[in-house]
């Protein structure tokens, strides 16, 4: 089997990239999705807050997905559901499997990686104690309640204050469970402020910062957890330990880009994002393999995923049309002071004729800052930010006029006081 573009993953990133490549004139596009339907994680994110930037209105997750699915239905884009990609290689050959076609071998001119991310689990944060049932990641609990219609428990303790955990604190409460509290090891919430307000404060659910779970008890089912305050080095303080009876522990302790396939194809990875290194068109280190969405870095908002995915779709279409003109030595985007990561990590375009959007996260909270872009130690752009926080992604839009001020092969972005 052959296809011009194969998109791996039918979530928000895959949908937006496929539609955008199609609109650029590539009609032979195939989306491969392992689930029984399109939409990725959106169908289970039944809360509102999606689409404010892309559609200018507040939508729920399923509604947001529906908009793109409806858009897709107007095209000739092919879809293979219930199909798992097993392998891709640097020649853009894809091996996939499903119960109808058996083993599939697909040759693509370009591939867009849109596999998204997955949740960190108990194994990755090393909570000691027994291994009873009743311990779920927030996303798993969300799926049980919102898709399957089953309640995972009645008395809940949530570890970690990531967005999904905050959303689930409210969801559990509305469905009649008791949420004892949300425990966060860091001194600041992990999720967006608006979720702390509308999910916890609205329902008087306590948030304990600088706290963690030190033990899980229960033989068959969770019977309770021990929580403790942590010191400035995040070490639990023994004297502050207390036992909380509960039947369920929910973990909301971060997301990791899902890159097993990218690694098999030997795409170069960025250890800071956990995703592939990409250029301004979202092309990875392998020509013709593009990536977008949470597989590249974990976003706060689906709107940003769709936006970046459009860039990758256009990029893949341009690649096939052979329209790309690249500079001999790419520009390296360097992380300056208080910057944890920047995407894209490199710039390959020879000439700048359109804006490039940079996405970055800071390491630490800081007030009254300037985000400064410089090249060869000369400032070429700045943006004032009243406050920068690690959970809130910063976006910089650089116009061709600014980009043309780049000299040499280096660009630095930093946070200045």
């Amino acid at each position: 089997m052959r296809a011009d573009i194969v998109v791996i993953g039918g979530g928000p990133a895959g949908l937006a990239s496929a539609v955008s490549a199609y609109k650029e004139g590539i009609k032979d596009v195939l989306i491969i999705e392992r689930d029984m339907e399109l939409g990725g994680i959106l169908p289970q994110c039944i809360h509102d807050g999606f689409g404010n930037f892309i559609f200018g209105e507040m939508l729920t997750g399923p509604e947001y997905a529906q908009r793109y699915i409806n858009e897709l239905k107007k095209t000739e884009i092919k879809i293979k559901l219930n199909t798992m990609v097993l392998e891709i290689d640097s020649n853009k050959r894809i091996i996939a499997v499903n119960s109808k076609d058996g083993l599939l071998e697909i040759e693509a001119k370009a591939i867009i990686l849109a596999m998204g991310c997955r949740e960190r689990t108990r194994a990755q944060i090393l909570i000691p104690g027994e291994r009873p049932s009743g311990i779920y990641t927030a996303g798993t609990a969300q799926r049980y309640i919102n898709i399957e219609g089953m309640m995972p428990g009645k008395k809940i303790v949530i570890l970690g204050s990531g967005d999904v955990g905050l959303i689930m604190a409210r969801r559990f409460t509305l469905e009649g469970a008791e949420v004892e509290g949300v425990y966060e090891i860091m001194p600041n919430p992990g999720g967006l402020t608006r979720n702390v307000v509308q999910c916890l404060e609205d329902y008087d659910i306590p948030l304990y910062l600088s706290h963690t779970i030190t033990n899980i008890e229960g033989r068959r089912r969770v019977e309770g957890v021990t929580v403790a305050k942590v010191d400035s080095k995040m070490k639990p303080i023994k004297e502050t330990e207390r036992f909380i009876p509960c039947d369920t522990v929910i973990l909301s302790v971060g997301l990791i880009p899902e890159n097993e396939l990218s690694k098999k194809a030997e795409v170069k990875m960025d250890p800071r994002t956990g995703g592939p290194i990409v250029d301004e068109r979202m092309e990875t280190s392998i020509p013709g393999i593009f990536a977008c969405g949470n597989v590249v870095h974990v976003h706060d908002l689906v709107d940003d995923v769709s936006e970046a995915a459009e860039v990758s779709g256009k990029g893949a279409a341009e690649y096939i049309a052979g329209k790309l003109k690249e500079r001999k030595i790419p520009i390296n985007v360097k992380n300056g002071r208080n910057v944890r990561y920047i995407v894209p990590q490199i710039i390959r375009a020879e000439k700048f004729d359109k804006d490039i959007k940079f996405y970055l996260r800071v390491k630490e909270i800081e007030k009254n800052t300037r985000i400064v872009v410089s090249s060869n130690e000369k400032e070429i752009f700045e943006k004032k930010e009243r406050i920068v926080r690690p959970p809130e992604m910063i976006k910089l839009n650089l116009s061709p006029e600014i980009l043309n001020k780049i000299t040499g092969n280096e660009l630095t972005i930093e946070v200045k006081k």
Partner: protein, 123 residues
């Protein structure tokens, strides 16, 4: 006496810290918001906090057992739990289209509850 109320805006991720100054329930000033929606949010929060109602209802003959629904417009925050309870009693029937009214005039708020996705029939 003038009183200051502080709100964190939830309209978008910017999370503006908004100050609403009022004297005997008369709003004198709203500041700290970076857009018009923020001003409206703060006034609503002061007068009558509202939220979009979001939950699921059982659905018969669908490819999935649950249908996500939402209120067409925001409803008073204090109604949230009662509405969710009311909706737990009903059963929708597949197929439904995104936007179909699933429950009319929930708890006499004058607001309809609508489906928030398409859900086709199970074969």
């Amino acid at each position: 006496m003038k009183r200051i109320h502080n709100f964190t805006c939830i309209v978008c991720p910017l999370s503006c810290q908004i100050e609403l100054i009022e004297e005997r329930n008369k709003i004198l000033e709203v500041k700290g918001n970076r857009c018009k929606q923020g001003e409206k949010y703060a006034i609503d929060e002061f007068k009558n906090p509202v939220r979009i109602l979001i939950t699921t209802v059982y659905i018969e003959d669908g490819i999935l057992p649950m249908l996500p629904v939402r209120s067409e417009k925001p409803i008073p925050k204090s109604f949230m739990k009662k509405c969710v309870k009311e909706l737990s009693k009903i059963k929708a029937k597949a197929p439904v289209r995104c936007g179909d009214v699933i429950y009319e005039n929930i708890l006499d708020t004058g607001i309809n509850v609508i489906a928030s996705r398409d859900l086709i029939r199970r074969k």
